[in-house]
Amino acid sequence: MSVWEILIGVFLLQAVACFIREKMHYASIEKREQKLTEIEVTTTKICPYDNVDTVLALGSVVLVEDAPRVLLSSVVSMAGGEVSSYSKFLDRARREAVLRMIESEPKARAFYNLRLDTTYLNQGDSSSIEACAYATAIIPR
C-alpha cells in the first residue's frame, strides 16, 4: 500500500466518523427539543405575565471544525455557493446553545428576548465556533 492510499483511507474513515457524529448530535438535539415543546421561547421584548421572577439565562457551546468539513468547504469555495455541511454545523451549535440555556433554568416556563451570538474562534492550528444563547427566563412565583 502506498502512502497515498493510507492517507485517503484515513480521510474516508474520518469523513464517516464525522457523518455519524453529526447524525447522533442531531438525534440528541431533536429528542431534547421534543421534551421542551411546551416552553415558550421568543425574541419578544415585552413579557405579558405578571407576578413572575425574572433571571438571565445563558447557554453556550464551542464546536471545533473537523478536517473533512474544512476540505469540503475549501472545494466549494472555489466555485461559490452554499456549504450545506457548514450550515448544519452552525445550526447544530445554535440549537445546542438554546437547549443548554433552557436546561439551565428548569423552573422557567418561558424565555423572552432571546438573543444569539456566534463567534469564530481562531486558535492558530484549528478553528472553532462558539454559539451563545441568552434570554430572560420567566419563573412563576
Binding site: V62, V64, C132
Partner: protein, 63 residues
C-alpha cells in the same frame, strides 16, 4: 482533526462571560443603579487563542 465539542473552551467562555457580567454589575452599582435591562453580549476573536467578551446593558434605577 476529528471535530466535536471542546468542553474546556466552552467552560472558559462561560467563566469569561460571568466575569464580564460581574464587571458590568460593578459599574452599574457604582452609578447608583439597582437594575440593568436590555443586556447584550458580544464576542470577538482578537488574535490566535485570544478572545474578548463584552457585556453591556442599560443601568436603571427603579423607585
Amino acid at each position: 482533526m476529528v471535530g466535536g465539542e471542546i468542553e474546556s473552551y466552552t467552560e472558559l467562555m462561560k467563566e469569561s462571560r460571568v466575569e464580564a457580567t460581574k464587571r458590568m454589575i460593578q459599574q452599574a452599582s457604582e452609578l447608583g443603579a439597582n437594575a440593568i435591562v436590555n443586556i447584550r453580549y458580544s464576542t470577538s476573536s482578537i488574535s490566535i487563542g485570544t478572545s474578548e467578551i463584552l457585556a453591556y446593558g442599560t443601568a436603571v434605577r427603579c423607585s
